[in-house]
């Protein structure tokens, strides 16, 4: 396995009315080809910002992202994104939404017949071939997200980026989609970066869980290797000691080491607490190369 994606000393500052706000600082991570990595952290900690920098939708202020030996500066279909709110184009059917992506990415490379076949194959992967002629408003939230995933997969990306893809769905639909995604992953073996705030989702799907500290100047707190064998079965794992141990580790990071301070009276306490956390995590543990 080779390193496919590398983030080195990535930081980003935003200009606000109150001055410069440092959202991310010193984010370092290496992702291997075929690896499934999730980013987890409290809301507002900058996980989406990391993803958007990899996607090229945001530009890092310091450091940089290298994909397969080339620096990332702008968005592109080799880093396909599954957005949180599906972001299907409402005037196009499921098929046409995927078609728009396929036509752009494979123009001059595939014939019209090959494109059609490829679009249908991808819709079939997410079990949406039956609704290919439906408009987004005619299908459920879970189905929309499936089409969103099909559109991203159809771009045949080097890295698939998913921004809380199941965040807006109910628990049962979410479980369904997670299982579908694991199935697809078993066949395609994509390199994936996924953002989540769901601990179970992170442990179930990932090879590695990247846990982020709270902002400002958020960075990587800990990285947890998930060595559970694949294919993974949701029900069997629910009673698995190793699974529960990993789950516990993530929960401990989120609720013990990185308590999100929501109140206003302990502003001073928060900043000192944060400072100590950052010091402890100044050098993020890099994963072992397997």
């Amino acid at each position: 396995m080779k390193t496919l994606l590398e983030l080195t000393q990535v930081g980003i500052d935003f200009k606000t009315e109150k001055g410069i706000f440092s959202a991310l600082k010193n984010v370092n991570i290496r992702i291997q080809e075929g690896e499934y990595v999730t980013l987890i952290g409290h809301s507002g900690c900058g996980k989406s910002t990391v993803l958007n920098i990899v996607a090229g939708l945001l530009q890092a202020t310091s450091g940089g992202v290298v994909l397969d030996g080339r620096e990332v500066n702008a968005p592109g279909p080799e880093r396909a994104v599954v957005f949180q709110n599906h972001s299907l184009l409402p005037w196009l059917t499921a098929y046409q939404n995927v078609e728009l992506a396929v036509r752009e990415v494979f123009r001059g490379k595939k014939s019209a017949a090959q494109m059609k076949e490829w679009i249908e194959y991808n819709l079939q992967l997410v079990h949406m071939q039956h609704a290919s002629n439906k408009l987004p408003h005619e299908i459920s939230g879970g189905m929309k997200q499936r089409v969103g995933i099909a559109r991203a997969l159809a771009m045949q990306p080097q890295v698939l980026l998913m921004d809380e893809p199941f965040g807006a769905l109910d628990a049962l639909t979410r479980a369904h989609l997670q299982d579908s995604l694991m199935d697809i992953q078993n066949t395609l073996k994509n390199t994936v970066i996924m953002i989540t705030h769901d601990v179970d989702e992170a442990v179930l799907l990932s090879d590695r869980i990247v846990m982020m500290t709270n902002g400002p100047s958020a960075t990587i707190g800990e990285i947890l290797n998930v060595n559970l064998p694949r294919p993974r079965a949701r029900l069997a794992l629910a009673d698995d000691p190793q699974y529960n141990h990993l789950r516990h580790e993530v929960l401990r990071f989120l609720y013990e080491k990185n308590v999100k301070v929501e109140d206003i009276f302990s502003q001073a306490k928060k900043s000192t607490a944060l400072a100590s956390v950052q010091q402890a995590n100044a050098i993020p543990r890099l994963p072992k190369v397997s």
């Binding site: 279909p77 880093r79 994104v81 957005f83 972001s87 184009l89 409402p90 005037w91 752009e104 408009l135």
Partner: protein, 317 residues
Amino acid sequence: MKQTSFMLVADRAIRNLGLPLIGITVFLSVWQFTSGRIDTSLGKFPGPAMVWEQAGGLLQEFRDEKIREVDFHARQEKRNAKLKIQRPDTAIQMRSYSGAPTFPQQIATSLKTVFTGFTLAAVIAIPLGIVIGLSSAVYKAINPIIQLFKPVSPLAWLPLVTIVVSSVYINVIDGMPKSYVTSAFVVMLCCLWPTVINTAVGVTSVSSDWVNVSKVLRLNFFRHIRYIIFPAAVPMIFTGLRLSLSTAWMVLIAAEMLSQNPGLGKFVWDEFQNGNSNSLGRIMVAVLTIGLIGYALDRGMLFLQQHFSWDKQALLR
């Protein structure tokens, strides 16, 4: 069960048919009552019955004119046939009938003029709105001009447009007299703005998610407009077009009055100038016709919107 469903139907019938009928009846009686009390130099102000009579009269004039036209063509053919026999070498001339325009013909002229002005406005306003919506710099540059011209009445434009048209448009094309060009142009100037503004708003409010999709796919400028921006803005473009069309129809009547374009505006003006005892009734027929056509145009746009816009919810708002 059956009882309640019957009552639901009855309730709906009363709401959708009964209430409007009551409204119309009250309106007609108030009209009848007050009109009898207004004395003018041309007799009493026309009540509903009188207006109905005048509408019949206008329709009769149209029928008579049609008969006269048919007669004219018949006479001409007969004469030409005779001429051909008597002097075979003379060139035969066909003259077109030149009777006074009747009420339905005036309606047709008005519709043709309004659609010309409206179409010109749409062709200019939609691209302009898209450009303004895409770039805040262009918006800042153009906005003062829009705000300056938006409130200008068509009557203020008319003298300028008339003078310009009569000096620029010299070789008059058949079927496009100067008065028609002037009216259409004034309509265009006045109904540009709702479409420009609504299109721009539609473009600026395109979901950032869709713009991100476009960025990830690396759509070039034209494909970005064609596949993302334009379709996303379609609901707002239609809202603008609907407002523009109703503005256009209002402006047109005034423009026709002053430019003497042979449409409904000129009809009203001529009746006002050559006042006789029927004039007020005939003007009232024109007023109601203008209202009905305006309503029909608006419904037509709504129908098109329902057909072409993806945002079906927008119509319920």
